[in-house]
Symmetry: D2
Subunit: 395 residues, 4 copies
């Protein structure tokens, strides 16, 4: 009796996989796992319903809070973006892989399957994690990639086998959602000279349609992590609330050309109202509390962290070393930032911190606390060697 | 007969310097130089008028076009920002120093003077350049810093000596303008919990007051440099036109905590509509035409370039080496970007290039040009060593 | 009529390939190409002889001078080492690939073959170059890897087919040589707790057996490139002469654990007397002529260059950008370094340059040229912000 | 009653300071502090004897063990060198400053003085630390720099005042010693074309005079720190023993051009037998136990650590963040390295670790554990985007 556990979203790719795993791979039992990382409630229910029909057993795993506190909050501390993308899908993949792996162990499965294609990033993220932590316990199967299926072939196969095809199967867009963001690709977006049509957006109103009046939110941080937003302290509610509020003001739309792991350039559109608002606030607080040298080196460490996560290398020990650096810097990133939301923009308009390095007295003009003459020697030696070089090198 | 050349803006600091140079430093002749880098016409005329009254000789040097093509365009290629600041004042300082130095040589001066205080950045930028290129030819004098004068003391001295005090002397703000941007600091801005009041802005309307309707501009680049905007090809006109258009849509306001050269944190507000619009467009074009590895290393070189310029090390030979790298990357940064201006945002909505690395056919889902199975081996080796590490390091 | 061009070394792997290409891949004609990059004369002659017997046509391409001036000299400018390895084999691969590609075009071949296995680096270096520059013109074939052959299987196959097996087939070592260095791996070297036995070395005497008396060589550089060594100006002769002289003094042995491209750690032993001597001299000259900032950033660019070359990404446009930076720094790296060779060490003992930044007068103690009091202000502001941070952050 | 505490070495600079502090600065009491960081016993005793004569009170503080375990061991973990210099003096300065500060607090002093000149590094290191941790408690006085004294002037003043002049006052060399190394500068060394004469060395024999026979030492590490050398486990003894043994084999001589903090190039000679031996061993162990990505990023963090320490910014919070990264990597740097000492070279000849990433089975040639065909896909995608760039960018 052979048993395979499939990471299941309820979409076309993974629904088709259930049948393929039986027919082409000869597994006796297909067990589906859907991990709740904040995708829409209906999506999870639809997956459950379909699984009841198609799979031998189904598990839904609630990982929303873990996703926020163990993944999104680390992303905030790392100001995490990759080429402008705040890493929503990339952040969730290792968590989903972990949950699937747990189920595979519980049900004593022989193999783990996923529906990723061979052009995307998720195959790397998913498999690398499984291989790192599942070792040689499980065979890993990727039917859509192995069989090199196109979308059209999948639809044909689904129809042939009576697999329910999603109602939006004619939608040209490929979409992924979790609490940290919504990704849209495909369709007309594949033409980088075309502005994304309004129809691709669901979490955000158009900045043109957003309210005339700005709104502010107050974000409080401790050790670099948001601990309350307008009084709300529950981590999951903080993100939900900001997705809503900032989304209403058209905040969080991202439209970029992005380099996938294998080196294909791809046009990606994202909606991430909460992520963008929190990142703006966090950066403003760091500017107040960290020294220039800390900011400068941290910005490179942040890039490294983001790149590792984008590449699906969450399990890389290097991530932990980089986090040791980042966490060491965050102990002073406490305080409050007020962010104004308006017509597509999230702008910090006030920041304060008990650890602020800003010194109003030192900076103030009409005051003698800082003796200007001190600067003279520093100015004298500024670029000393470079000036020497210019003279010494002259013909 | 001793002669000093003074970098002259017409403001309080430098006007007071004219008299100080005579009285406290015993120079017989004070010659003033105002360099036109795109500050308001009236400012230059006011400087000329005051100089006629106070100085022994005055020079106005037109450097606007040189500023745009030799300084701003390099900043565009380098996506130049320092902690969010697009470097307007920092960019102009070495050019102003160069022009003052030229005049000093022409008039056979003994010394060069500037009005910088001891807390700011400009003393570093100005003196380092002069020392690098003026060598030991000229003494360098900084009266306000040497005498550790406060603003109040300067005003008192001006009144005592009959030096015309600027009409806005009661303005709490300290302002610097050139074609690439306008800097505002001081006054209520020194409180980082206060939103900048509307009164500090002159180049931009409030996003709340900006037009309902978005407007687009089309920017064409060659070798990473803007060669036309909506058909306008003159470099100076390009910047003027964008300052106007983008300013009308509230684009280009920046409000940051910035680390000055000596390590003081300072609250700085900027207006830079043209700079922000061009930087957004340039980055979008690079995302289309450069490889991931090029983008990633270039982003660090861009940071280095910006930091050197911020620190007033324009003359550092390292800048030229970094530019050799940057220029080598820019030969493919050709093409057109359409930027939408709306309510404070400048958003690229279309990008195209003859050197685009984006390949619609490769990316498209329903197509076999890219055999997905190729990815399998790459996935297999993705993170290979890191996975090995996890296993080998297990207790 | 199908025709394949094979990169041919005369060793076991590539000799076996000739027959495999006929038998398993059905090519009608196998044309062999040996590129002379300074490997031993006998090796080339042996390859020619074997090819006469086994192949349909053979080409020997002389690329020694090109190798030195276009590859090794760039490596000198970049102080090129990867984890301690001066990149000899890695440097030659793209050149060999280029020569093979040229022959393939001349003879109008259908395919290009190489003998690399699936665990090494050379498959990456070879194929990436061919795909970059050969595009879709040629099929690329790697018989040993495709058929997953072990060394034992190759020997058996060779004996069966009457392919001459190298006399040293029982040697446990795998060796690669070119003018820039000699690589040895395998055998007892696979045990990283064992010191390399003397038998693996051919270019260098043991430091224990080296002459009592040190010897010096004088290396002259222009633009960062060696232009004469003890009067010898011919580039190829310079490298030959230093391999000989430094080798006699036991200089150039390297024994490291190295990370291969796929992430396997490997124990590698190298001999590179000329490379090590020239790199030591070049670094000493840079220390004299470049500013601290130039040295520091260049060291990272050098690392990037070396990593690209190690990874076989010679064709990456990024290499050219990095070289633009490097070349821009090298225009002042002129001068002479005397290196003492003795008992395994190459130590610069004298360095001078017309562009030296070293200023004996400034440094000298008993002299007033540098007014020490200038340092006071610089000292005062040294670490200013960090000290502020310590105070502000105190509980 | 005013009281000053002076960091006292017993040398000319600091001996002269005692009298200057009374005569020129009007302090009533001068209290001297000598910190034992492993300089020669006689040096400390000489300082004590002179202090008895010249100062009002003297303290000798034993800090040798603290120096080794809290400073040198961190340097080992960070593979610390700056432009080739293993940071001996730089490492000890903050510790000496801390001890002087403690005494100043105990004796309730008004000021702290040091004998540094205005051209060296130690003024920066000393004062920055004191200002960071002593805040505004103490005035800081630097008589030699303030009075811009030359060496000749100091000697004249000493003779005039009856201050005992060191017996080696005619020695042209300026020397500093602690357990981690010995620095020599000045005299004929100021000519960078001259090989250092044998007379400058005290800890090492000439490689030419070193024993014919190599000797090995076995170094055991735990968490990146040496825990035993040939069975010796006491940290201080480990360093002493290696200084002796490696010194006898001529190991640890360094001769470089170094960039001082203010940007002067200086010719520096060092002896650091223990430091060099331990750094070689540590690096060899890291090569065995860390992944390529860990090695590569750590090497940049190591550079940052070294630069901070060289610049006297030990107190910079950034150092702690960098150490958080470094320490996180070191938890697997356990194991044993055998280093061969011979004729000026310290060469690791054996390395092993329970956390070794080296896998003899995977690497071995005649074996099927690693299926070579896996590499094919990875090779196929290697440099994929860069190759695309070459084709897309072609004219």
């Amino acid at each position: 009796m052979s048993r395979v556990v499939l990471a299941y979203s309820g979409g076309l790719d993974t629904s088709v996989c259930i049948e393929l795993l039986r027919e082409k791979y000869d597994y006796d039992e297909v067990i589906t796992v859907t991990t709740d990382v904040g995708q829409p409630r209906e999506e999870i229910e639809e997956a459950e319903e379909k699984a009841r029909k198609l799979a031998d057993e189904h598990h839904t795993v609630d990982a929303v809070e873990e996703f926020v506190t163990e993944y999104c909050w680390r992303a905030v501390k790392a100001n995490a973006t990759y080429e402008g993308y705040p890493l929503s899908t990339a952040l969730a993949r290792p968590l989903i892989a972990e949950k699937v792996l747990q189920v595979a162990r519980e049900v004593d499965a022989d193999a783990i399957a996923h529906g990723c294609t061979g052009k995307g990033n998720d195959q790397f993220r998913f498999e690398a994690y499984l291989k790192a932590h599942g070792g040689d316990e499980f065979e890993i199967v990727a039917p859509v990639r192995d069989l090199n299926l196109t979308r059209e072939e999948e639809i044909a196969y689904a129809k042939e086998k009576g697999i329910p095809v999603p109602v939006d199967v004619d939608s040209p867009y490929s979409i992924d959602e979790n609490l940290w963001g919504r990704s849209i690709e495909g369709g007309v977006l594949e033409d980088p000279t075309r502005k994304p049509p309004e129809e691709v957006f669901e979490w955000t109103v158009s900045p043109e349609e957003a309210p005339e009046e700005p709104e502010t939110v107050e974000v409080e941080f401790e050790d670099g992590v948001p601990i309350s937003v307008d009084g709300e302290e529950d981590p999951v509610r903080i993100v939900e609330l900001l997705n809503e509020k900032a989304g209403e003001h058209g905040v969080g739309r991202i439209d970029i050309i992005e380099d996938r792991i294998i080196g294909l350039k791809s046009r990606e559109v994202y909606e991430a109202p909460a992520a963008i608002t929190l990142l703006e606030a966090h950066r403003a607080l760091e500017a107040l509390t960290l020294t220039r040298r800390e900011l400068s080196l941290k910005s490179r460490m942040d890039d490294t962290w983001s790149e590792l996560v984008y590449q699906g290398l969450w399990f890389d020990p290097l991530r932990e070393h980089v986090e040791a650096f980042i966490d060491s810097t965050q102990s002073v990133v406490d305080g409050t930032v007020v962010v104004e939301l308006h017509r597509g923009r999230a702008v910090p308009v006030s920041r304060e911190s008990p650890n602020s390095l800003y010194d109003e007295e030192l900076i103030s003009y009409g005051e003698k606390k800082f003796d200007q003459r001190v600067a003279e020697g520093a100015v004298e030696l500024h670029g000393f060697q470079e000036r020497l070089a210019i003279r010494k090198r002259k013909p």
